[in-house]
């Protein structure tokens, strides 16, 4: 195995650059080093001006998503040795504006995430004296996989629909909306349906399916969106044929 590997890192310095350029760094390549270790080595030893996001180093915080050799990846979970003998091209996540080097602007995603109300909504809270809201393991299983999302935005980077139409709410936000819709403690599905049944919501998705393939936590956003479409269609038919009280 090669003991060193070349990182080709996309650089963008807004003060001086009009576009991105590629800068090469040679870094050690022990078998337990991930791409993020290589970037940290560059930052600490070779070039302190390199900018990128990271935090937990263990696939939980979702901060270190980047494009590695053309694929959206969590750089803390992608081993350098898998790309030996290199070089490895590291670019910012696609479909987002680049602020600097490997740092992308995530405001659009954060606004969309909040818009689908990813929290438990209750019409009326029961008094504390009645105890907790209980759930069976089967009920938990219904939404558990969607709750594994860490908001890393790899799915947005892989989604050509979001790239072509930035108004599209996008995979992670819809999957998280579905996570709460399927939660037996939640009563907010009608509120979310109003938002997600817009053109930029579920109907914007044309089922490319890449969001599911790139998800590092094995969430299935494409499945969530298709299931939501089915639900929205049934609700629309019910609204058309049935009196309001019977829906």
């Amino acid at each position: 195995m090669a003991d060193r590997i070349t990182l080709q890192v996309s650089r963008y310095r807004p003060e001086t650059d009009s576009g991105a350029t590629v800068q090469e760094y040679e870094v050690p390549c022990p078998k337990d080093w991930v791409i993020l270790d290589g970037l940290n080595y560059v930052k600490d030893r070779l070039d302190g001006t390199l900018s990128y996001r990271w935090s937990c180093r263990m696939g939980i915080c979702g901060s270190c998503g980047m494009t590695v050799n053309g694929e959206p990846k969590l750089t803390c979970a992608t081993f350098l040795a898998d790309y030996a003998p290199g070089p490895v091209l590291v670019e910012p996540l696609r479909n987002f504006p680049v602020i600097r080097d490997l740092v992308v602007e995530i405001g659009d995603f954060m606004r969309k995430l909040v818009s689908v109300k990813p929290w438990i909504i209750r019409g009326e809270e029961k008094p504390l004296s009645e105890g907790e809201y209980r759930q069976t393991p089967d009920e938990l299983q219904d939404y558990k996989q969607f709750s594994m999302c860490i908001n890393c935005m790899l799915c947005y980077a892989a989604c050509p629909i979001y790239g072509l139409d930035p108004k599209f709410i996008g995979p992670a936000a819809i999957a998280l909306a579905q996570r709460y819709n399927l939660d037996t403690r939640d009563q907010g599905a009608p509120e979310r349906l109003e938002i997600l049944s817009e053109h930029e919501g579920i109907w914007g998705c044309t089922f490319v399916g890449e969001c599911t393939k790139v998800c590092p936590k094995n969430v299935d956003p494409a499945g969530a969106i298709q299931q939501y479409k089915l639900h929205a269609a049934v609700e629309a038919v019910k609204a058309f044929f049935m009196p309001r009280g019977a829906q």
């Binding site: 963008y12 807004p14 003060e15 650059d17 576009g19 991105a20 053309g70 696609r94 479909n95 504006p97 680049v98 602020i99 600097r100 602007e105 089967d138 299983q141 050509p160 790239g163 072509l164 044309t206 089922f207 490319v208 399916g209 890449e210 599911t212 393939k213 299935d220 494409a222 499945g223 298709q226 299931q227 479409k229 089915l230």
Partner: protein, 139 residues
């Protein structure tokens, strides 16, 4: 904030890379997706062709023979061969995607996706065999 704005500390100039026109050639899955979208055009033609066939068959033997002659035309025949490819491609990819869109339960147990896809393919095969039997039994 606009792309043309100059960079300042409080108004940084973001880089907005544009998607290539040929983005659908960058991954095999993107190409498969585009082919599935394009297949809709051929599905539409397939439906029109089927309606024309039914109309010709209902108008008697002469009209049906004329329709068959037209179907053998140098343009119509290759078009129908391409259409057959896309109809099969559309059906296979559609049935393979079905498990993601359908959550089927038997009691409290969720039916595995593989079983849903296999059921769809099996139903397709049975329906095709039935149609084939209806068409060929008199020959």
């Amino acid at each position: 904030m606009t792309d043309g704005a100059g960079h300042t500390v409080h108004h940084p100039r973001w880089l907005r890379p544009r998607m290539s026109t040929y983005w659908w050639l960058q991954r095999r899955s993107y190409l498969a997706f585009i082919l599935r979208e394009v297949s809709s055009v051929f599905i539409a033609w397939f439906v029109v062709y089927l309606l024309l066939l039914i109309r010709a068959a209902s108008q008697g033997a002469a009209a049906y023979q004329e329709f068959l002659n037209w179907s053998g035309h140098a343009v119509v025949l290759p078009l129908n061969v391409i259409t057959l490819f896309f109809v099969v491609f559309h059906a296979i990819t559609w049935f393979n995607l079905a498990p993601q869109a359908m959550v089927v339960r038997v009691g409290s147990t969720r039916v595995p996706g593989l079983l849903i896809a296999a059921s769809n393919h099996a139903a397709w095969a049975v329906a095709s065999a039935l149609v084939g039997w209806l068409l060929l039994r008199g020959q």
